[in-house]
C-alpha cells in the first residue's frame, strides 16, 4: 500500500533523508527508530507532503504518486486516508477551539458527514480515547498533557485512515497509559497500516511488526521488530538498544561513543563504529538483504571479533572445558557466568593461550588463531582476579604499565611514557611523577586494579578479558571499577569478556550472558532474556542466589 523509492529530502544544502526505500503492506506496521536528528519527523512529514524542503524520489500510496499529485488531491488524502498524529507539545492543538470541534472539523471539512453526525462521531472517538464527557467542550489549555495527546490521536483516527503516521506518539504519556493507548490505537484503527517514529524501543516493539533503524538520514537496518530488537545486527542498532534504558536488564545507561555527524564521507556511522575498515570511510554502504535482514554495512553487520568452536580442555580425568562455542562481537560485553570450578577461568586461559586446548579452535575475526604472536596480544588483553598477584612487586607503576609497550616495541621512549600517562588518566589515576614511581605494595586495592586495567589498555586492545575483576574489592569500589570499565568500553568501543560468578553484576554490564556449568555453556542469549526468562534450571538457581544475597544486605 505504501512504497518509498529513493526518497531524498533536503533543506537547502542539508540532506535530511537520503535514499530511503521502504515498503509497507496493508495492515502492516512499521516503527522508524532513531535518535533525535536522525530524520524521523522529516520522514513522517514527507509522507504527508508537508515538509518545506525539496523532496526527490517517489512515494507511492496505493498506486498514487504523492509527490506529483496536485495540491487539492493531496489535501483530500490528508487527515482522511493518510492521517498524522504528532507528539503533543505546547500549541499542537489550536488554543482557541474546543477539542470536540477540533476532532469534528476533520470529519466535516472532508464532507464525510454533516455537522451533527460529525459531532456525534467525534464524541464517540473522544470517549473511546478516555476523555470524560464533561471535557468535550473544553479548550486545550484546560487539559493535561496526556489528555491533549489522546485528543491528537482521536483527531488522527477521526476518518478511519488507511495509513496512520504517529510521530513520537506516546512519549508524553506515562508507562501504564502508554500500554492502554497502544491497545486503543490498534483497536480503533483495525486494518490500518501504521508508521510510528520513536526513539522508544519498547513502544516500537509493542506497536510494530517491522522496524527500520534510521541513522543520519539513512536506514541502516530493517527487519521484523522482534528479531531486530532482540538480535541487532548493525553496530548502530546494537548501540541504540544498549543505551536504551530498559528496566529489565538494569544495565547502566551507556551510549555509543561520539555524536551523530551527518557530514562525514562513506558510512556515516564510521567515526563511531568499532569495526570500521578502510572502505567505510570512502563508500556509502547500500541497504542489502543479508541472511534474512536488511543491513547497510560493508562488513555485513556486526562481525564476530572472537569465536571458539568445540573448544575443550581435559586435565587427566576432568573435562574442565567441554566443547565450548562462544562468540564475542565487536563492541559488545559478553558476561560468562558460573560458580567457581565451572571452568570459566580455564576458558579464559585457553583463549589467551596460557594453556593449550585438548581440542577445538579459536578464531580472531574469522582467522584461526594458531601461534599467538605480538599481534594477537595487541588485540586481546586480560586482567586477572587478584591484582596483588598479577603485578610484579619489583616494578614501579611506570614500568608496570610501560612493560607491554616495551615488549611490543611501540614508539620511542618518551612516546611510551606519554602513552602511560594518558592511559593512567583514562583509568582515573594520577599521572604525577610521584605516583609513577610508586611500587604496587604501596597502592590501595582499588588503585592496584586500576593499574592492571591501565596495563591491559595501554596497547589499545580490541578485546579485554576481565576475570572476576571486582571480586576482591568491597562493594563501593566494585561499583567504581565497573563504571570505569563501562566508560572505557564506550570510549574505545572495546569488546569485553566479563567473567563473574555473580549474575547480578553480569546483568548490570552485559549485552549478552553465557551461563557455564561443569565446563559446558548451558545457556546463552541477550541479557534481558536470560534475566527475565531464564531457560535453564541452573540459571534460575544463580538468579535466585543473587536475589537472596541482595535481600540480606
Amino acid at each position: 500500500m505504501l512504497k518509498l523509492e529513493a526518497l531524498e529530502v533536503s533543506y537547502g544544502e542539508k540532506k535530511i533523508l537520503n535514499g530511503i526505500d521502504l515498503e509497507l503492506k496493508d495492515g502492516e506496521s512499521l516503527a522508524v527508530i532513531g535518535e533525535s536528528g536522525a530524520g524521523k519527523t522529516t520522514l513522517a512529514l514527507s509522507l504527508m507532503r508537508l515538509v518545506d524542503g525539496s523532496v526527490k524520489g517517489k512515494i507511492l500510496f496505493n498506486g498514487l504518486d504523492l509527490l506529483s499529485l496536485p495540491e487539492e488531491a493531496i489535501n483530500e488524502l490528508r487527515g482522511n486516508r493518510i492521517a498524522w498524529a504528532p507528539q503533543n507539545s505546547n500549541n499542537t492543538l489550536n488554543p482557541v477551539h474546543t477539542i470536540l470541534n477540533q476532532v469534528a472539523e476533520s470529519i466535516t471539512e472532508h464532507k464525510l458527514k454533516n455537522r451533527r453526525e460529525a459531532g456525534k462521531q467525534a464524541s464517540i472517538l473522544l470517549s473511546s480515547f478516555g476523555i470524560p464527557v464533561n471535557r468535550f467542550s473544553a479548550y486545550p489549555h484546560q487539559l493535561s498533557g496526556g489528555e491533549q495527546q489522546r485528543v491528537l490521536l482521536a483527531i488522527a483516527s477521526a476518518n478511519q485512515p488507511e495509513l496512520l503516521i504517529l510521530d513520537e506518539p506516546i512519549s508524553s504519556l506515562d508507562a501504564p497509559a502508554r500500554a492502554e493507548v497502544i491497545e486503543l490505537l490498534k483497536h480503533t484503527n483495525q486494518d490500518c497500516s501504521f508508521i510510528v517514529t520513536t526513539h522508544d524501543i519498547s513502544t516500537a516493539a509493542k506497536l510494530a511488526d517491522k522496524v527500520a533503524i534510521l541513522y543520519a538520514g539513512r536506514i541502516v537496518e530493517l527487519g521484523l521488530s522482534g528479531e531486530v530488537l532482540s538480535r541487532p545486527r548493525h553496530p548502530y542498532t546494537r548501540g541504540l538498544i544498549r543505551c536504551y534504558p530498559d528496566m529489565t536488564t538494569g544495565k547502566d545507561l551507556q551510549g555509543i561513543k561520539g555524536v551523530m555527524d551527518r557530514s562525514v564521507n562513506g558510512c556515516s556511522f564510521h567515526p563511531r563504529c568499532t569495526q570500521a575498515i578502510e572502505i567505510c570511510r570512502k563508500e556509502i554502504p547500500p541497504l542489502r538483504l543479508i541472511q534474512g535482514r536488511h543491513i547497510a554495512c560493508h562488513r555485513g553487520g556486526i562481525i564476530p571479533l572472537l569465536s571458539t568452536k568445540n573448544l575443550s580442555k581435559r586435565f587427566d580425568s576432568l573435562l574442565a572445558v567441554d566443547a565450548v562455542k562462544i562468540t564475542i562481537e565487536g563492541g559488545e560485553t559478553l558476561a560468562l557466568v558460573g560458580e567457581s570450578g565451572s571452568g570459566k577461568t580455564t576458558l579464559a586461559k585457553l583463549i589467551m593461550g596460557l594453556i593449550e586446548p585438548t581440542e577445538g579452535e579459536i578464531y580472531l575475526e574469522d582467522s584461526l588463531v594458531s601461534n599467538r604472536g605480538k599481534d594477537f596480544y595487541r588485540q586481546v588483553q586480560m586482567i586477572f582476579q587478584n591484582p596483588g598477584e598479577s603485578l610484579s612487586h619489583r616494578l614501579s607503576v611506570l614500568e608496570l604499565v610501560r612493560e607491554s609497550l616495551d615488549i611490543q616495541e611501540i614508539g620511542a621512549r618518551d612516546e611510551r611514557d606519554r602513552l602511560v600517562r594518558q592511559v593512567l588518566r583514562e583509568v582515573e589515576l594520577p599521572d604525577s611523577e610521584a605516583f609513577l614511581n610508586e611500587y604496587p605494595h604501596h597502592l590501595s586495592a582499588g588503585e592496584m586494579q586500576r593499574v592492571t586495567i591501565a596495563r591491559a589498555l595501554v596497547l589499545e586492545p580490541r578485546l579485554l578479558i576481565a576475570d572476576e575483576p571486582v571480586a576482591f574489592l568491597d562493594s563501593s569500589l566494585q561499583a567504581k571499577i565497573l563504571k570505569l570499565l563501562l566508560k572505557l568500553q564506550e570510549q574505545r568501543g572495546l569488546s569485553l569478556l566479563f567473567i563473574t560468578h555473580d549474575i547480578a553484576v553480569a546483568r548490570k554490564i552485559s549485552d549478552r550472558i553465557a551461563v557455564m556449568k561443569d565446563g559446558k555453556i548451558v545457556e546463552q542469549g541477550p541479557a534481558t532474556k536470560i534475566i527475565t526468562s531464564p531457560g535453564h534450571a541452573y540459571t534460575r538457581k544463580l538468579s535466585q542466589a543473587a536475589l537472596d544475597l541482595s535481600l540480606e544486605d
Binding site: N75, P86, L93, E105, E109, H141, I155
Partner: protein, 320 residues
C-alpha cells in the same frame, strides 16, 4: 474583577482632573470656569448664584462634593455662548462623532485584519509586497491631511460629495432618503479616518500571522487536510486576531483625537467641531463637558474591548 477596579480608578481620576484643572488656573475661578462670555452677562445676583452653585466660598473638598452632585444630576454647567445647558449641547453632537469614529474604527480594523491575514499568509509574495507598500504609504499621511486631499478632490473638484456638514440642511428628508443623505456626508470624513488608521491593524495582523503560522497547530490543521481558507482564517487568523483587538482599544483614543481634526476639515458637526467652536469662543464649560464625555466614552469603549478580548481567548476566559 480587578479590571473593573482599574476602570473605576481611571474614571475617578478623569473626574478629579476635570474638576481641578479650571480651578488651578490663575485668576478668578469663575472666569476660568465660565469663560469670557459669562462676564458680559454677569450681574451681582448671577455671580452670587454661581458662587453658591459651585460652593466657591467653601474649601476645595466641598467644592468637589458640589461638583459631583451636579454631575450626578446630569448638570455639566451652562454655556453662556449658546445659552443652554452644556449637557444638551454635548449630547446633541455626540452621535455624529460616534457615527464617524465607530464607522471608521470598524471598517479600518476589519479590513486591516483581513488584509493582514492575506498578506501574512504568504509573506514575501507579490500580493503581500504591494499591499504592504500601498497601505504604508497611505497611513503615512496625517488624518486631517488625507481629509483635505479628499475634500479638494471629491468635493471641490469633482463635486461628488458634499463639502461640509452631516446632513443637507432644511431638506426635510426622511426614511431611506435621510439615511442616504447621512451616508453621503459621512463618506469622506470616514474614509479619511479609515485610511489613516488601517495601516496599524493591518501591520499588526500581518506580523502576528507570521509568528502564528510557526505554531504546531497550523501544521496540524494542514495535516487534517483542511482547505486553505479554513487553515488561514479559522486557525491562523483566529489566533492572529487577539493582539489586534487589544491594539484597537488603544487605537480608539488616538482615533477620537484624529476625528476632532477631521471634523474640523469637513465642518462635521460632531464633538471635534464643537470643540473648535468652543475654543474660538472661549466657551470653557463646553470644552470641559467635551473633555469629560470623550474621556468617559473612550474608557467605556476600552472596557468593551477588554470584554470582547476575553470572549475571543478561552485561555483568559478560563484563567481562573
Amino acid at each position: 474583577m480587578r479590571n473593573v477596579i482599574t476602570y473605576v480608578i481611571a474614571f475617578l481620576f478623569i473626574l478629579t482632573l476635570n474638576f481641578l484643572l479650571p480651578r488651578m488656573l490663575p485668576g478668578d475661578p469663575l472666569m476660568a470656569i465660565y469663560g469670557n462670555e459669562a462676564l458680559i452677562a454677569m450681574t451681582p445676583e448671577l455671580k452670587a448664584h454661581l458662587v453658591e452653585r459651585f460652593a466657591l466660598d467653601q474649601p476645595l473638598w466641598q467644592q468637589f462634593g458640589a461638583y459631583l452632585l451636579a454631575l450626578v444630576q446630569g448638570d455639566l454647567g451652562h454655556s453662556y455662548y449658546y445659552n443652554s445647558p452644556v449637557s444638551s449641547i454635548v449630547l446633541g453632537r455626540l452621535p455624529w462623532t460616534l457615527l464617524l469614529v465607530g464607522t471608521a474604527l470598524i471598517i479600518s480594523t476589519l479590513s486591516g485584519i483581513v488584509l493582514g491575514i492575506e498578506s501574512g499568509w504568504r509573506r514575501g509574495s507579490r500580493r503581500d509586497k504591494s499591499l504592504l507598500t500601498s497601505l504604508m504609504a497611505v497611513s503615512g499621511f496625517p488624518d486631517f491631511f488625507l481629509g483635505i486631499l479628499l475634500l479638494i478632490g471629491f468635493s471641490v473638484t469633482w463635486k461628488i460629495f458634499p463639502l461640509s456638514g452631516a446632513i443637507t440642511p432644511y431638506s426635510g428628508l426622511s426614511g431611506a432618503a435621510l439615511v442616504l443623505d447621512v451616508l453621503h456626508h459621512l463618506f469622506l470624513p470616514a474614509t479619511a479616518l479609515t485610511l489613516s488608521y488601517i495601516g496599524a491593524s493591518y501591520l499588526l495582523t500581518r506580523n502576528t500571522m507570521v509568528t502564528v503560522l510557526k505554531n504546531p497547530y497550523i501544521l496540524m490543521a494542514k495535516a487534517k487536510g483542511l482547505p486553505d481558507r479554513v487553515v488561514r482564517y479559522q486557525h491562523a487568523g483566529r489566533n492572529a486576531l487577539l493582539p489586534v483587538i487589544t491594539q484597537t482599544g488603544i487605537q480608539l483614543g488616538r482615533m477620537v483625537t484624529g476625528a476632532l481634526f477631521v471634523e474640523i476639515v469637513f465642518a462635521y458637526p460632531g464633538l471635534g467641531y464643537l470643540t473648535y467652536e468652543a475654543l474660538l469662543a472661549r466657551d470653557y464649560p463646553v470644552l470641559q463637558g467635551v473633555l469629560l464625555i470623550v474621556a468617559v466614552s473612550v474608557l467605556i469603549a476600552n472596557f468593551l474591548v477588554d470584554l470582547s478580548y476575553s470572549k475571543l481567548d478561552p485561555r483568559i476566559r478560563y484563567a481562573h
